[in-house]
C-alpha cells in the first residue's frame, strides 16, 4: 500500500519533469509519457487493479499540481484505456511480446483514446487526422518506456526482499 503511494508520487514527479521538456514535434500535446514507466512497472509487479489505481491517482494529482483541468479527461481516459490494453497484452501474449511491445501497445492505445476523446468533445471527426503523425511518436516513446521498464523491473525483482515489500 505504501509502495503504491510511492509509485504515484514517482509518476507525478516524472509527469511534471516531462512537462518541462519541449517536444519538437508538430503535434500539440505530444508528450514522452515517462510516467507510463511507473504504470507499466505497477502492472507487472502488482497487477491490474493496482496499476489502474496508480494511473488514476497520478492523473488527478497532476491536475491538482499543475492546474490544467482541461487535460484531466484526456489523461484519465487515456491512462485507463492504455492500462486495460497493456494488461490484456501482458497477460495473454507475453510470450510473443516483450515489455517493449506491451508498452508500445499502451502508448498507441493512450494516443488513440486521447484523439477519440478530442474528436468527441469537438464534434469533429477530422481531429483523427492528428492520429497518423502521432502514431510513430507513440512508437518511439513506447519503445523507450518499455526499455526502461525492463531494466527497472529486473532490478526490482532482484531487490524485493531487500526493500521489504510484501506483495499483497
Amino acid at each position: 500500500m505504501l509502495f503504491l503511494a510511492l509509485l504515484v508520487s514517482m509518476g507525478l514527479a516524472l509527469s511534471i519533469i516531462e512537462s518541462f521538456i519541449p517536444v519538437p514535434f508538430i503535434i500539440p500535446g505530444a508528450k514522452l509519457g515517462l510516467s507510463n514507466i511507473v504504470i507499466l512497472i505497477t502492472l507487472v509487479l502488482f497487477g491490474f487493479k493496482e496499476a489502474l489505481i496508480v494511473g488514476i491517482l497520478k492523473s488527478i494529482a497532476f491536475v491538482l499540481s499543475t492546474g490544467s483541468v482541461s487535460s484531466l479527461i484526456y489523461s484519465l481516459l487515456g491512462s485507463v484505456f492504455s492500462c486495460l490494453i497493456m494488461y490484456f497484452v501482458y497477460k495473454y501474449f507475453s510470450n510473443i511480446f516483450s515489455l517493449i511491445g506491451v508498452s508500445i501497445f499502451g502508448a498507441v492505445a493512450h494516443n488513440v483514446s486521447q484523439v477519440a476523446v478530442a474528436s468527441l468533445i469537438m464534434n469533429n471527426f477530422k481531429v483523427f487526422s492528428y492520429l497518423p503523425p502521432l502514431l510513430p511518436v507513440s512508437l518511439l516513446t513506447g519503445y523507450f518506456v518499455g526499455l526502461s521498464s525492463i531494466y527497472i523491473n529486473k532490478n526490482l525483482e532482484k531487490n524485493f526482499k531487500k526493500i521489504g515489500i510484501n506483495r499483497d
Binding site: I96, I100, I104, K126, V127, S129, P132, L135, L139
Partner: protein, 129 residues
Amino acid sequence: MFLLTKGDKYLIIIIIIISLISIIYVERDATSYNSKYISIQVNGKEYKKITFNPKMVGKTIPIKTKYGYNLIEIGDEKVRVIEADCPDKLDVKQGYISKPGETIVCLPNRLIIEIKGENGENEIDYLSY
C-alpha cells in the same frame, strides 16, 4: 534494437505501415473533388456557383457586370482570372487559387472569387489544449 522479440518487431512494422497508409488517406481526403466549389460574388451577392468537375478543365467563363468585365479560367481543381478590365490587374497577377478559403478579389469590379468547401469548415484552423 536490443531486447526486442520477434513479435515486437512485427508490431513496430505494422504500426509504421498503418501510419503511412493513414497519412496518404488523409492527404487524399483533404484534396478531394466533391467538397470544393467556386463561389463568384459581385458586390456582395452570389452571382454564380460552380462545382469543380473534370469536364470543366480549361473552360473560360466571362463575368460581365455593370462594374466591369473579368474572364476566369477553370483549371484542374483550381481557378484563376486571365482577363480583367481593371487598371491594376491584381487579380490576373494572382494566378491560381485552389484551397477552400482562398480568394481572388477585384476591387474596382467588386468581384470576389472564392473557393468554398461543401460542408462549411472542412479544415481545423487551430487546435489548442
